[in-house]
Amino acid sequence: MILEKDNALSCARMTKIRLRAEEAAMYEEQLKDLFQWVEELSKVDTSAVPETTTAHAAYLRPDEPVTQEELAERLVSAFSQQEGHCAKVKKVL
């Protein structure tokens, strides 16, 4: 069973989500129930289904360059501080 190897805290850590102790306990319980339920899927014989399948058909546009200068400017202008075409972001470290 999936959560025998993992626990809610270790799974949360992977996703950069910090859990308080009481939250971890609640998630632990709920995730156990959920993954137990999901194990129903293992009963289905999928041996004839190919490994790589896409959700549904996708139609890609022609591989031609598209200029979207105006969009780029609008996106940059959404930042509170800008320098030319660059957005100024907070220092992380």
């Binding site: 799974c11 992977m14 339920w37 293992s42 999928t46 399948t53 890609l60």
Partner: protein, 471 residues
Amino acid sequence: MKTVFEIAQAVQSGSLTAKEAVQEALDKIKELNPQINAFVEVWPEEALQRAAEIDARRAKGEKLGPLAGVPVGIKDNILYKGHKATCCSKMLANYVAPYNSTVVNKLLAADAVIVGRTNMDEFAMGSSNQTSVYGPAHNPVDFDRVPGGSSGGSAAAVAAGMVPAALGTDTGGSVRQPAAFCGVVGIKPGYGRISRYGVVAFSSGADQVGVLSSDVKGAALMLEVLCGRDVNDSTSLEDEVPAFSQQFTADIKGLKVGMPKGFLDNLGADVKEKIQAAAEKLKSLGAELVEVDVPHAKYSAPCYYIITSAEASSNLARFDGLRYGFSDTSANDLNDQYELNRAPFGEEVKKRIIIGATALKAENYAACYLQAVKVRELIKQDFARAFEQVDVILTPTSPTTAFTLGAHKDNPLAVYLADLYTCQGNIGGLAGISVPCGNDKAGLPVGLQFYGPILQEEKILNAAYHFEKAL
């Protein structure tokens, strides 16, 4: 409140001004929204200004668009340039859309008037509208009950007569289930029919924009405006969009309606009775009821929760607070920074991200995610086979009617299981519509769902239209 069709025709003919139609909607919102909380923000001045422009264009003799003067609400995960789009989350509390989504562009080009953004479950994850940072929307039929979700605000707004139609999004039933709970029409077209450009992503393999409307004809008209290929969404289909609102036939004699084997087994007596009565009604209209077998459909809900959570964990990874979204400045190191920036996510969103990341972990991937993807393929094959025999498939929309606010709080699995009938449509990429089929003994609306294959939305609209007329 008049229907979409009635308003558009009246504004086009001049018997009603767009300003009058919009003012009526704004008055209704002002009167009822404090109790229902369907709208989280309303733009009255802007809406009236736009309505005045539409009226002025008509006065000049210009031909107006198909949704002339129709007031609509949009779900809070749909971008409308210069307006907030928060996904009802603290994470995006101050996010202002820098561009229009394709669906908003299409509404505006059709001369609809967007009056505000509607309440929803945070990031569209939920079936009750209770995970919204703005507090829950209430069901207009009974204020102590949920309106369903995640597009609960849109459904409640239409049911309360605030607007004749609203946009929602449907990843596992988020348009159809609230439509059923509130007693309105909700349609999700087949995957790829409507562009998702400018719609905040939850699960890219399942998300679809849908319509909530006070009647089937209005849903059809909205749909024909919204569908079509968009170069900005590679999943949008190139196929021609029929004039759905003009496709209704004189009757449904000979329509083959599929009834999946065992689909009524786990229903409560009240809902079961209404669905059986609906099937009989269709028969009396000349439809032929045919039993169909979709043996893997019972696995739709676990399959859905694994795939959509996996996609959500990836889609929501962008909310790290470094480019946009909530940002905490008190971090000591990079890990601290990420964790603090992701703290505003609500309980349900955090849970789905964790589920998804766990399912995608290398050692779980094959048994969990890959198996779910393979089962999805089998479910799609089941439905494709069934549609070789029948025109549409009938199911309940939801196994229950609207539940009370706060119910199932400690049992999320019970809520997930309630998506069984609707998430089949997203897993299979099918078109689905929910139409009211009467009330249970407590007076709460029951929803009937029709499924149709991709690119044949007119079949489910036609079946729903005749059923609605006959009820």
